[in-house]
């Protein structure tokens, strides 16, 4: 029974994951001007750490998730401190190259350590579905949306109310002035990377129960994250969220009414169209380039 409200609803749940992936990308991009192409591989690492803690060390699931997210945070910080910091002044191409190199390195390492057989993670929430009028509420879907809301509120508080958030926003606006104002560039950047990668890891862990976990599982999730970020104009937190949710719904509509297999191709066509018509995002304003 496919009905429109149901499709929109489960699209929103899937879109929450895209929004989380996009948020991580946008946060890192805003603070440091680097697009982290390795975001998906880092989400994969997080999911595999969860899997290993759960199946190898038999840690309770919530604790395993918490520990894996801490690992993701550390991975993000380490990436910034050990790698990205060294190419901070290099050409943009070099920074793209570095994150692509990390993507391959991490994917390869995960493959070597855990092999290429598909793994799985259990659902985090295992309650029975609730019928609410014509639509059925699936608890794990509701949970995905709830996680997004909680994290976004947390992020807003962080960005608006804390000194770290102020520093993150300042870096995005004017690096030089931010330094003059006594903001420690390196500390804020590495913390931002930690948060960004932890967001990607969250999306990764939430996504696994619906698919399987292999070293390249997250390629699709992150491409959708990129697309969501581009829809949102790549610069803003709200753009990433709206872009992600919109993409989730659109994707689900395509899957239902057009073709479940070609959704990525159709989404790609939409991305091209969006970039061609509105290069600065669906809600973006024109940017004047100066010499």
């Amino acid at each position: 029974m496919e009905i429109l409200p149901q499709i929109v609803l489960s699209g929103l749940a899937q879109g929450s994951l895209y929004a989380l992936a996009a948020l991580g990308i946008v946060l890192i991009f805003n603070a440091g001007g680097v697009v982290n192409f390795a975001q998906g591989a880092m989400a994969v690492v997080t999911a595999y750490v969860t899997w290993a803690l759960l199946n190898g060390a038999h840690v309770p699931y919530p604790l395993a998730v918490a520990l894996a997210l801490c690992a993701a945070f550390a991975l993000g910080m380490a990436t910034e401190m050990l790698v990205l910091r060294r190419v901070a002044d290099a050409q943009p191409l070099t920074q793209i190259v570095v994150t692509l190199g990390l993507l391959m390195l991490l994917t390869g390492l995960v493959g070597m350590i855990f092999g290429h057989d598909p793994r799985s993670l259990p659902e985090l929430v295992t309650l029975p579905s609730v019928a609410l009028g014509p639509v059925i509420l699936v608890p794990s879907d509701v949970f995905d949306v709830a996680v997004l809301i909680v994290l976004v509120v947390g992020l807003m508080v962080l960005l608006r109310k804390t000194k770290l958030g102020l520093g993150m926003r300042a870096l995005g606006q004017d690096l030089f002035a931010a330094r003059l104002a006594g903001i420690s560039l390196t500390r804020v950047l590495s913390l931002t990377w930690g948060i960004g990668v932890a967001l990607a890891g969250t999306a990764g862990i939430l996504a696994v129960p619906n698919t399987t976990l292999t070293p390249t599982t997250m390629d699709t999730l992150v491409i959708y994250g990129f697309v969501a970020a581009v829809f949102g104009g790549f610069g803003t937190v709200s753009g990433a969220i709206v872009g992600g949710l919109l993409l989730g719904v659109v994707d689900n509509l395509i899957k239902t009414y057009l073709s479940p297999e070609l959704s990525l191709s159709v989404v790609f066509a939409l991305l091209l169209l969006a970039l061609y018509l509105r290069p600065n995002g669906l809600f973006g304003r024109a940017v004047v380039r100066k010499v």
Partner: protein, 312 residues
């Protein structure tokens, strides 16, 4: 040897090494296959360098153009039993057409936006190849008929090897000469400053699209040769991993350097073959190589003969 510049000597040396390899192995089938596959991949890497090194754009989906060429040639071979030359031309043409899809928006995009768009393109091509079963036979792939060129059936791996090497030689000569042509200089001007290039009367949009078309056509032609080499075309040969391998060849070798790109292709193809037995190892090594190059030798392998200053 003073006839050649140091970079040209490096390019010739790389090619000589690869020609010598199957000879040293007594023309056995497997070394021949590896050497031919290297030559095909090197052509794609060279085509990618036209885009990245020469015109300052980026493509993370070159396997997509490669796939278009391979499928065009394979399907034409199966359905109409066409000559390899027709297959190569058709493959190049289809890839060039496909490049307009990304090339036209690319006139307004750069850097990471272009990276994302091309990445998406590569994934979309592989997905369509997987799902359009009526045309591509989906997962099972397309088996080509006996390959023939100008009336001669290429019956042994040695024949294919010879044809592919002639093609690599032609592509190398074309790409090495490009920077000295009017178009090549326009590429360089757009790469170094779009605004300055426009001020000199160069159409920036046209130049960028042309770079995509030329690059994709070469990659598509190489794809057609790949179909002739393997006799079998399937979607899994054209995933993100393959696109990133081409990208890595250019980066490790050093952008805007024909010899560097050839050497990068040689090194990375060597690594993938040597590490093929352990799952994930070659990807790990290539990833580490890319990060290492970016951190410590941003100019890549070409700095071996250019004194490391990374001059473009």
């Amino acid at each position: 040897m003073l006839l050649f510049a140091r970079s040209e000597r490096a390019a010739l040396l790389t090619l000589a090494l690869v020609v010598a390899f199957p000879i040293a192995c007594g023309f056995r089938t497997y070394p021949l296959f590896i050497a031919t596959q290297f030559a095909v991949f090197a052509m794609v890497a060279l085509s990618l360098d036209v885009l990245m090194g020469r015109s300052g754009q980026i493509s993370l989906g070159h396997a997509g153009f490669f796939a278009l060429g391979a499928y065009a040639a394979a399907i034409l071979s199966v359905r109409y039993d066409v000559d390899l030359l027709v297959g190569v031309i058709a493959g190049a043409a289809l890839a060039a057409l496909g490049s307009l899809i990304v090339g036209l928006p690319a006139t307004r995009l750069s850097g990471h936006y272009l990276g994302i768009v091309t990445l998406g393109f590569g994934v979309a091509v592989a997905q369509i190849a997987l799902k359009w079963t009526a045309l591509t036979n989906g997962d099972e792939g397309v088996h080509t008929h006996a390959i023939h060129l100008a009336g001669t059936v290429l019956s042994s791996p040695l024949h294919v090897y010879a044809v592919v090497f002639v093609a690599l030689g032609a592509v190398t000569a074309f790409v090495a000469r490009l920077p000295r042509t009017r178009l090549g200089r326009a590429f360089g001007a757009v790469r170094d400053s779009e605004i300055a290039a426009a001020a000199m009367g160069i159409s920036v949009a046209r130049t960028k699209v042309l770079a995509f078309v030329i690059s994709a056509a070469i990659a598509g032609g190489a794809g057609a040769l790949y179909a002739a080499l393997t006799g079998f075309v399937a979607p899994e040969d054209f995933g993100i991993g393959q696109s990133l391998l081409f990208f890595a060849m250019v980066v490790v070798g050093g952008t805007a350097s024909t010899a560097g790109t050839l050497l990068g292709a040689l090194v990375l193809e060597g690594v993938s073959q040597a590490a093929a037995t352990v799952g994930g190892l070659s990807l790990t090594l290539i990833g580490a190589a890319i990060v290492g190059v970016a951190l410590f030798r941003p100019a890549g392998l070409k700095s071996l003969w250019r004194g490391g200053e990374g001059s473009r």
